[in-house]
Amino acid sequence: MTTATEQNKVIDGVKAEPWMRMYRRMVIIRLFEEQVNDLYTRALMPGLAHLYSGEEAVAVGICEALRQTDYITSTHRGHGHCLAKGAAPDRMFAELLGKRAGYCKGKGGSMHIADPASGNLGANAIVGGSAGIATGAALSAKRLGKGQVAVCFFGEGALGQGVLYEVMNLAALWKLPVIYACENNLYNEYTHYSETTAGDILARGPAFGVPAESVDGQDVRAVYSTAQRLVERARKGEGPAFLVCNTYRYTGHHVGDINREYYRSKQEEQEWKTKRDPIKNLTAWLIEQKYAEKAKLDEIENEVRAEMKAAVEFAITAPYPSPEEAQEDVYA
């Protein structure tokens, strides 16, 4: 027997709606990556891909705090960012397979998906390579007075790239609306970040005049509320922020990185997957809050799974670009 207030919650779409949307988004990313791994193992995908599985709450929590017209820059591990900002799975799969229907007409592949419609300035295969781009977009936003904010996603490995500090310093001097979102998933490829990162990561923002915060990257509610605060602050003209999200990648550095024992234990992986899974945890909370019943959430998952299957099919059957197209789009 449930109380009236609890009753309310279940029907209270307004309260529930953003959380349900974030739930769906995280499930989309999780199942998208499942398909990517499947495409790789079935040898249907050229090259490699870096899966975002396990880190969904970071992209989804932060992008929930953004408007469509806000900008993001992404990384080699970028599928989650693109999806969270609103890219369509079918055109993303098409890009991953090098098809003309892809976001980049097949020219970019997994590491370069870009989408002006959703403010996605592009994924980047150079670690730290988009720090300048995101900061420059923030300069435009400020100069042109469009009230936009730019979010620069990067892994903790990018903390090794000096250019990051060069632009943080500039963003602080010029009070630019940019959020430096560091996804600390503990590893730079096959090396633990503690072997590559001295001092205190959080101190690296303030040293360049950029306020820093850290958040549990497996808790989408914490990510969202922190991001919202920092984004609004930036939008108001109060300058940049450095947000460290502590998270974990469930699978290999890329789809081909199968045997990982030499750099991390199966047990470590298990603990993150079982105790700190962002989707499981949000699921539990949604049910506990009576925002949704388990059945409803499973239904969403099944819908998404079907969508992903259809999107993959679309990509598989889509045509390749013709060889002459290699010479197009070099110059605008």
Partner: protein, 331 residues
């Protein structure tokens, strides 16, 4: 008094006028770099711009070439038309990732959806007694990279016209100014004009030998042509004006006509501009050339400081004159 159509300006004034006119025409155009505002750069090329356009549009940066060049890329993608100032071409070494892996590739990698209408202005040229880290001419590197355009003005007139074209171009353009030419004077129309990229300019017509030269080497070639005329050799001096796009046709046609060609460029002589242009001519005018194309670039050494050393590392009127003379005697 009536407005005159053309007057003499220095190369530096022509660059400044192009920037000022474009900034008046289009408020999205902005400049950033080190000491570009009140200081107007160490070469004083930008003097007065901050006074007219304010610190909103003429921004002094920290000494962070990689960082602010990267910001130029992002700003260009999102609605501004940045003109990034890299004081010495030698510092391009710090911007290569932003220029080559980002600016040059964004349009292509995004399947033509994002554009990078950015101009990067920088310098080249030796003999300023600035030694190895402040004297290089590294334009060959950028000319090698698809996605970039590279302009190399040799006169005040070309500087104004090419810079306006660069600023209006939808692609990243690297614009090289020879710091030794800033005081060079020449006629420059007051009116608005642009010079198309990929169109070489015959700076002097001639019959006996073609001298293809870039940037300040055009002035060197013209000086050599004067000397050659005195001994009865008629030299045609051709300035590609942009190394990319490259006007192959004009170079080849001239070489076909004269049957002899010399390529003069201030970059290092090996694996650079002279190799490309000489190859284009050797292939295009293969059946007309009487002698092999001669290449003259910077000596394959880091630029030395000491004047008697530095002076022998770059082509001069005299060395170009002698090369051409030797040539025509052969032929």
């Amino acid at each position: 008094m009536p407005e005159i159509a053309t007057r003499e300006l220095t190369f530096a004034q022509a660059v400044r006028e192009a920037l000022a006119e474009e900034m008046r025409r289009d408020t999205r155009v902005c400049i950033f770099g080190e000491d570009v505002a009140e200081a107007g750069t160490p070469f004083k090329v930008l003097s007065g711009l901050v006074e007219e356009f304010g610190r909103e549009r003429v921004l002094d940066t920290p000494i962070s070439e990689a960082g602010f060049t990267g910001m130029g890329v992002g700003a260009a993608m999102t609605g501004l038309r940045p003109v990034v100032d890299i004081m010495f071409g030698d510092f391009l070494t710090l911007t290569m990732d932003q220029l080559v892996n980002q600016a040059a590739k964004v349009h292509y990698m995004s399947g033509g959806t994002w554009k990078v209408p950015m101009v990067l202005r920088t310098t080249l040229g030796a003999t300023r007694r600035s030694a190895a880290q402040h004297s290089q001419s590294l334009h060959a590197w950028l000319s090698h990279v698809p996605g970039l355009k590279v302009a190399m003005p040799s006169t005040p007139y070309d500087a104004k016209g090419l810079l306006k074209t660069a600023i209006r171009d939808e692609n990243p353009v690297v614009f090289f100014e020879d710091k030794m030419m800033y005081k060079l004077k020449g006629p420059v129309p007051e009116k608005d004009y642009t010079i198309p990229f990929g169109v070489a300019d015959v700076k002097r017509e001639g019959e006996d030998v073609t001298i293809v030269a870039t940037s300040s080497m055009v002035q060197v070639a013209l000086g050599a042509a004067e000397l050659l005329e005195k001994i009865g050799i008629s030299a045609e001096v051709i300035d590609p004006r942009t190394t990319w796009p490259l006007d192959e046709k004009t170079l080849v046609e001239s070489a076909k006509k004269t049957s002899r060609a010399i390529v003069v460029d201030e970059g290092y002589g090996r694996y650079g501009v002279t190799g490309e242009i000489a190859s284009v001519i050797a292939e295009g005018a293969f059946y007309n050339l009487e002698v092999p194309v001669k290449r003259m670039g910077a000596m394959h050494v880091p630029i030395p400081f000491s004047p008697p050393l530095e002076d022998v590392t770059v082509p001069t009127e005299q060395t170009v004159f002698e090369a051409a003379r030797g040539f025509c005697e052969k032929g």
